[in-house]
Symmetry: C2
Amino acid sequence: MSLLSDTLSAIPGADASACATAHLRLTQLTMPPWALGRLMDTAERLAAMTGQAKPRLERTAIAIFAGDHGVCAEGVSAFPAEVTPQMVANFVAGGAGINAIARISGASVLAVDVGVAGDLAALAGHYRDERIRAGTANLARGPAMTRDQAQRAIEAGIRTARDLCATADLLAAGDMGIGNTTPSSCITACLTGADPATVTGRGTGIDDAAHARKAQVVAHALALNRPDPGDGLDVLAKVGGLEIGAIAGFYLGCAAARKPVVLDGFIATAGALIAQALQPRVVDHLIAGHRSVEPGHRIALARLGLEPLLDLGLRLGEGTGAAMAFPLVQAAGRLLSDVATFGEAAVSGKPAG
Amino acid sequence: MSLLSDTLSAIPGADASACATAHLRLTQLTMPPWALGRLMDTAERLAAMTGQAKPRLERTAIAIFAGDHGVCAEGVSAFPAEVTPQMVANFVAGGAGINAIARISGASVLAVDVGVAGDLAALAGHYRDERIRAGTANLARGPAMTRDQAQRAIEAGIRTARDLCATADLLAAGDMGIGNTTPSSCITACLTGADPATVTGRGTGIDDAAHARKAQVVAHALALNRPDPGDGLDVLAKVGGLEIGAIAGFYLGCAAARKPVVLDGFIATAGALIAQALQPRVVDHLIAGHRSVEPGHRIALARLGLEPLLDLGLRLGEGTGAAMAFPLVQAAGRLLSDVATFGEAAVSGKPAG
């Protein structure tokens, strides 16, 4: 048995009993029936995820998985690859978008190197070193990584989740990797059956010519590598990314620990598709934080069957959309623990009939 | 000069200089151009509201204005009027939906009686007493209140805002008043020109027959009282509510103090329409927290020209939708104060051309 197979079998389904208890209480709260809409739906799911009728969600944590991408050689990104290690330094220094947004819920932020192609020695001790290789191979020319490396990337995410779950109740994974919307487009097309052109967006902001080239790269990579949509590890190895594999593993690890985890944008959700391919029950433990402007994100979320909480035109990644949704998920949890019922508060209910 | 007229003239417009400074910095942050979308739009507006290029928004506060409605005699609500004072007691005890949601940003919660038709003596010292009369008159039979009472309701909101602004940076008003979607529908129809039937919803959950009756009451009240859409005080007096007037005043008071204020749902937004009718510049200081399921809310927000941050199927009021948006607004503010620029963090920008 491997860490991966152990984790896959440890993931429980939704807890129907806790869900029913939570549902009953939500219908008795001092407010008109289901007057907090999607927040109440989320509260019910939180009970099902955690197995707790009154889940605690106070301690939040974010892991940002970083990796580089050989496919950048095809001119698919607006930014140079050197930005990946520079941004890891920015996360460590606390100056990135995710650091600012993490503060609204007091979330811890941990950068994890799974496959950066650059020297991070100056940051030693300030990030988690899980580097498997210095960036993927160019998926437009062959597999992005070996099957063994794909499994190790997932297991790096599982280990990170296990460690963070010891001190956090609500988690999210973020991504950093110049070029990583291209493997995310490949994964989404492969695992949803959508046309490569419909799932390929503009990432950090490429022009029309680069966008057309990127869609061709995605279609070509799928035709060349022929990933098997019934085999999540094969998809990750052939057209994925190291940080995307770690994100998939992070979701599996959180689900096995019964800790709710909030999805970020397109790259994170590509990781969730890989996790779903490996173990469909993982989806019971995922909350969609937001809908990104990347066209493939909507398609990937539909495949997971998840409706996002926020839709604010975000396209940054790093976990920012998930971290923005943390307070909403915490509010949903508080409905179960903090709000009085009609009986408890001696408030008159709606007359019958 | 009155408190109302003094406040109306003290409200500044948007600060173009602070807005431009904020805009420039937002374009230089270590992320692709405008990659945090609506959050960056909000950050820019926060600078324009406060006159600060790096606004502080840490301390949050909510005032819930409560009042009763004579129009309940027409059978327009699913709940009995006794619920209004019972819910004020629930706010004071900390057991209502707004108390739970306020905790996600550490917001203070203050209940304010502007016109409850019930005894609150048992709560003395735990709420703010600004009662003007014990509920409005039935607006289906004549004016809801006198013009003098309408002005006093607005001034109660202004005073409350002044006091809370001394110790809070970001504020919201909530409402409690069984029957108050009916005056809100009247105000929205009058001030937007929309058909009464299109702005009348199901409130706390009335059936088809009650909904048809409610739409008739709204149309009848407008035909009977003939409020002047060019005179906000006249609209409030004839077809409004005491807590709606106080909410309007609260927005005016916050705007005069240059403190950003987040709108809640349909009733709060009806209050904003009254405030806008009195002083159009107040809208520069308002942020729309969410879009409610009440059909009139979309129409009222369009009249204000505001796009809401959240759309979660809420229909509770109490300030809950605004309090849920507080962390998002705080995150927007943190983009200006906490995120490094490309230059500060030594991160490579997007190559020109």
